[in-house]
């Protein structure tokens, strides 16, 4: 817990700085937005008005956040990295999940026909999580076959019901 709150304070320090930068960038971009003088609009209705205000507010909030984290001693605890050095069970699962989900959404769906991408994704997900990342791995053959059947079944049901019953177009 102690470690967690330390990490949070450090994370806040960094995000505070990020928000300051982001806020300033937004302010700068909005300041440079066209004032649309050609159209003769009133100067207080420029498109950049609200983004400017928001950018300034964001930078200010980021400043407050950074200040608070600094006061809470974040800078003195910089020994020890921000990311956990030891690979916990949790971070492994998260990493695998990220690779799978991002791979599916960003790569597979574009590349392969939807049903194939989906079936593959489901199959790999189930197998990985049931065989490797769990404390009670199931017997190999049985798991593979079961996973295979389940992914194909779900893909069929989903594709069919969405396309035919609900008339939704699939990627």
């Amino acid at each position: 817990m102690e470690d967690n709150s330390n990490r949070l304070i450090r994370a806040d320090l960094i995000t505070g700085i990020v928000f300051i930068l982001l806020g300033l960038i937004v302010f700068y971009l909005s300041w440079n937005m066209s004032r649309l003088e050609i159209r003769g609009i009133h100067p207080s209705t420029i498109p950049g008005l609200v983004p400017m205000i928001l950018g300034a507010l964001l930078a200010f909030s980021g400043f407050l956040l950074t200040l608070r984290s600094w006061r809470l001693g974040a800078s003195f605890r910089l020994k020890g990295s921000l990311l956990p050095l030891h690979i916990t069970e949790e971070s492994k699962r998260l990493a695998v999940m990220l690779v799978l989900t991002l791979g599916y959404a960003l790569v597979l769906v574009d590349w392969l026909p939807f049903w194939l991408a989906t079936a593959l994704y489901l199959f790999v997900s189930i197998v990985l999580f049931e065989l490797y990342l769990t404390s009670e791995p199931r017997p190999l053959m049985r798991c593979l076959i079961l996973a295979g059947i389940q992914s194909v079944l779900v893909t069929l049901v989903v594709t069919f019901s969405f396309q035919e019953l609900f008339l939704v177009r699939l990627p």
Binding site: L8, A11, D12, T15, F19, V26, L29, S30, M33, S34, L36, R39, I41, H42, P43, S44, T45, P47, L49, V50, P51, L54, G55, L57, L58, S61, G62, L64, L65, R68, E89, E90, S91, R93, L94, M97, L98, T101, L102, Y104, A105, L106, V109, T118, Y121, L122, S125, I126, F129, E130, Q150, V154, V158, F162, F166, L167, V168, R169, L170, P171
Partner: protein, 514 residues
């Protein structure tokens, strides 16, 4: 005044849905909602967001019907896993587990679930009552709202949501709100048709669509959180009587009514949702209770308060939705987006253009209340089986639905990227304890805020006085400023010191650092 007109319209609303298609939709949508609510990791907002896509092809009234059934079902469904697993199926049921799980451990799981069912039904009905009375009144009041009022309403919504949902850390709540507002700034702005922040990417010029963003922040982010945890809890089997004795329900009627009112009020406040409704009702019930010791150890009163409170939020949240197009909760925000998709325009004009709609919504709520009561009291054993589906199989399927859901509305792969981005973004922010509700409010209210500010300025030629002199604007402005000021610790300390001097606050024996 006998409100004959209104009763007539209500009867019409009910009659509108007394056909086979509607009843079928009510049946499956409510059941699906209960299942989604039960499964930890699937929330009401996620369920509603995903269902919007499914119902895209349906006629407007049927679509909204299914969404409301899903909403009510999911908020109710969370109580099941709260009672049986001590894991709330949705954040709204967190307070339910405090007394529900001990009851289950005492062998009274079935009874607890029955009590939760009746409490949810009662809560919804109390909320419906207020919806029926307040909505028309508020709509009439809001009819005179101009740009100034709507600007301050948007500000108020974001500020109050940030303040109340960022409970321990309002600063993070406000930052979340600002981030949401900034997201709304991307795309073509409505006053001069000027493209903002599109960086030359044509997809961005259309702005960021709210549904993929919500599916990402509430779907994908939730999936990541769930898959990361390692939990496998044992389900307590339920035995014994399910239907509660009337005397138990009657005994705590005051608690129920109080919780219902609190829940409705919490629902009306923008961006503050069922979880806060449930906690506030629970705390109030405990304070007023003659059986305080029982709370947390299997108190029927506590369970009643929690479940009545969270269910009353739903009709309450619909009040600002229908009259002002401002979401009372995050799921209500999705409902607003869905209404616009189906060409229903919520806001003060709704009561003029489409007055039956309010009563149709009330009818929808009534029907789904009946549905959850029937399902809740009868399908106990069957629904428990649902809880044994392992997450590893379920979460990837839900993710597939998220991908389909984000794509289906505008058939753009860009929306899938939006979903992924908001999922990652939402997950990181959540891990750092930023509340999600103000982000949603910011995205929904951003355009309202921006357009009305500039329109107001255009009307007055740059003069900002009307923003501060018109009565409603002034009130909203003062409340927002007060909310922000009260969240600054230094201000609170000064205030406390002042109050103590005047004798209004108690002196503390150890004044730590004041």
């Amino acid at each position: 005044m006998f409100m004959i007109d209104e009763l007539g319209m209500l009867a019409q609303g009910v009659g509108h849905f007394l056909n086979l298609t509607s009843l079928f939709n009510i049946a499956w949508a409510t059941l699906l909602g209960i299942v989604i609510g039960m499964l930890p990791g699937l929330t009401a907002t996620m369920g509603v967001a995903l269902l919007v896509t499914l119902t895209y092809g349906m006629p407007g009234d049927q679509a909204i019907l299914t969404l409301i059934c899903m909403y009510v079902g999911a908020i109710y469904g969370g109580s099941r896993s709260a009672i049986l697993l001590n894991i709330p199926g949705t954040p709204a049921s967190a307070a339910t587990s405090l007394d529900g799980y001990p009851l289950a451990q005492q062998g009274k799981a079935g009874y607890a679930m029955g009590l939760a069912t009746t409490s949810s039904a009662i809560g919804t009905i109390i909320g419906i009552f207020f919806l029926a009375i307040l909505a028309p009144a508020l709509a009439e009041f809001a009819f005179n709202f101009g740009s100034y009022e709507f600007f301050w309403l948007a500000v108020f919504g974001v500020v109050i949501s940030g303040r109340l949902t960022g409970a321990n850390d309002p600063l993070k709540g406000y930052i979340a709100g600002i981030l949401g507002l900034l997201v709304a700034m991307v795309g073509m702005e409505s006053l001069h048709a000027y493209r903002r922040f599109d960086f030359g990417i044509p997809d961005l010029a259309g702005g960021i669509d709210i549904i993929p963003a919500m599916v990402g922040a509430f779907g994908f982010a939730e999936i990541l959180t769930v898959m990361r945890r390692k939990l496998d809890a044992k389900v307590i089997t339920s035995q014994g009587r399910t239907i509660p004795y009337f005397k138990d329900v009657w005994k705590y009627r005051r608690t129920a009514i109080r919780s219902g009112i609190i829940g409705t009020l919490v629902g009306i406040i923008p961006g503050v949702g069922e979880d806060i409704g449930s906690w506030t009702s629970y705390a109030a019930a405990r304070r007023a209770s003659k059986e305080k010791e029982k709370f947390g150890h299997g108190s029927y009163e506590g369970l009643t308060a929690a479940e009545t409170g969270n269910s009353a939020v739903i009709p309450g949240a619909l009040i600002p939705v229908l009259t002002l197009a401002i979401p009372g909760s995050t799921a209500a925000a999705v409902l607003i987006a869905a209404m616009f998709i189906h060409d229903i325009r919520p806001g003060p004009m709704l009561m003029i253009e489409n007055p039956e709609f309010l009563y149709q919504v009330i009818a929808m709520l009534l029907f789904t209340t009946v549905a959850i009561t029937i399902y809740g009291l009868s399908l106990t054993k069957l629904l428990v089986k649902v809880l044994s589906v392992p997450r590893e199989k379920l979460m990837p399927v839900v993710y597939v639905l998220c991908v389909i859901g984000s794509f289906a509305i505008s058939q753009q792969i860009f929306d899938v990227y939006v979903m992924v981005f908001f999922g990652l973004f939402g997950y990181v922010l959540r891990e750092m304890k930023y509340p999600m509700a103000p982000i949603v409010l910011g995205i929904i209210l951003g355009t309202l805020l921006d357009t009305n500010l500039r329109r107001g300025l255009a009307l007055t030629g740059g003069d900002i006085t009307p923003f501060f002199t018109r009565p409603v604007s002034l009130v909203l402005c003062l409340i927002s400023v007060l909310a922000i000021l009260l969240s600054v610790p230094a201000v609170n300390r000064l205030l406390l010191r002042g109050l103590r001097k005047v004798g209004l606050a108690q002196k503390q024996s150890s004044d730590a650092g004041v």
